[in-house]
């Protein structure tokens, strides 16, 4: 069952990833990319990363892809690329890509650690709650079997890690988001010089102004 879903999700992910780079319509590319993200969220669920699957769908497929689509439609570049495809670069990148995949396959073949099946692998959530040191300094064994755990347990564990070991990076991330927000506002704020140019164009492109003539005649 697990294997079947793995193949469905991974083949879907690779296929929609290929359509992202092969499609000439940017909107279709963006939608294919959203599908890639959905399939990857499926793979995350197979890997017991339920929280990250939800975050992936919400943030990447929801927010980021909507932003991409919004920009594509705002800039009105929905027209297809009529320029011919870059055959030379396509061949080069295909060669580089196949070489990279060959190297990865070679490495994976020589690592016996990678050949562990998913059922024998330790579940991260189980391992994380297995031992806990009490106030008296004794280690209490809290080994929870997978069936006892509810599905949200990895969320609890990630939250605990975020606010203990990784609290400094977490706070720095908030600073980063603040800086990014301010940066976006600064970048998109039109100053007077750039704002006046398109307005002049609009006025120039508009049909000859009639009211002015009328006022000239009347006066």
């Amino acid at each position: 069952m697990n294997a079947l879903f793995f193949w469905i999700f991974s083949i879907g992910m690779i296929g929609s990833g290929l359509t992202v780079i092969l499609n000439r319509n940017p909107v279709a590319s963006a939608i294919s990319f959203a599908f890639t993200i959905f399939f990857m969220a499926g793979l995350f669920i197979l890997l017991n990363a339920f929280f990250l699957a939800a975050v992936q769908v919400l943030v990447t497929a929801g927010a980021v892809m909507v932003l991409f689509l919004f920009i594509i439609m705002l800039l009105d570049i929905t027209a297809m690329e009529h320029v011919p495809r870059r055959k030379f670069w396509m061949g080069c990148s295909l060669a580089v890509g196949l070489g990279f995949i060959y190297l990865v396959a070679l490495t994976l073949n020589q690592t016996p650690e990678g050949a562990v099946g998913i059922d024998e692998a330790p579940n991260p959530s189980t391992v994380a709650v297995s031992t806990e040191v009490t106030a008296g300094g004794q280690t209490v064994d809290h080994t929870v079997t997978q069936s006892e755990m509810d599905l949200t347990d990895d969320t609890h564990q990630i939250g605990k890690l975020l606010f203990t070991s990784y609290v400094a990076p977490f706070e720095v991330t908030s600073l980063l988001i603040l800086v990014a927000t301010i940066g976006v506002i600064v970048l998109c704020k039109q100053d007077d010089r750039t704002r006046s140019a398109p307005r002049d164009e609009i006025i120039r492109e508009a049909p000859p102004v009639e009211p002015k003539k009328e006022t000239a005649h009347t006066r």
Binding site: V59, T111, P124
Partner: protein, 101 residues
């Protein structure tokens, strides 16, 4: 056939290569940016797979940070593209050759 760590790593490598090919072959800045995002996601898949098979949740926390930073980065990058489009009325890389030697 049982699914192993190697399967996940191979799939992630393929997605990474697809993103790399997109960066090489496409000329639209927005598509290039999407391909970069795809390479980032391939790395995320690798991290989650390692986290699952090694029994540590630290990899998933790292992926959480990567997703956050990627979202911020997309916002800034798209703002740059919009500013560039205002200046040049194009998002095709072959038209942006000011720094070309």
């Amino acid at each position: 056939m049982d699914i192993t760590l190697n399967h996940y790593l191979a799939v992630a490598a393929m997605l990474f290569v697809i993103g790399l090919m997109g960066v090489f072959t496409r000329r639209n800045l927005i598509i290039i940016y999407m391909s970069l995002e795809m390479m980032l996601q391939a790395a995320n898949l690798t991290l989650v797979a390692f986290s699952r098979f090694n029994g540590h949740l630290d990899g998933q926390v790292f992926v959480f940070f990567v997703i956050t930073v990627a979202a911020a980065e997309v916002a800034v990058g798209l703002a740059l593209i919009v500013a560039l489009f205002r200046l040049r009325q194009t998002t095709q890389v072959q038209d942006l050759t000011t720094l070309k030697f």
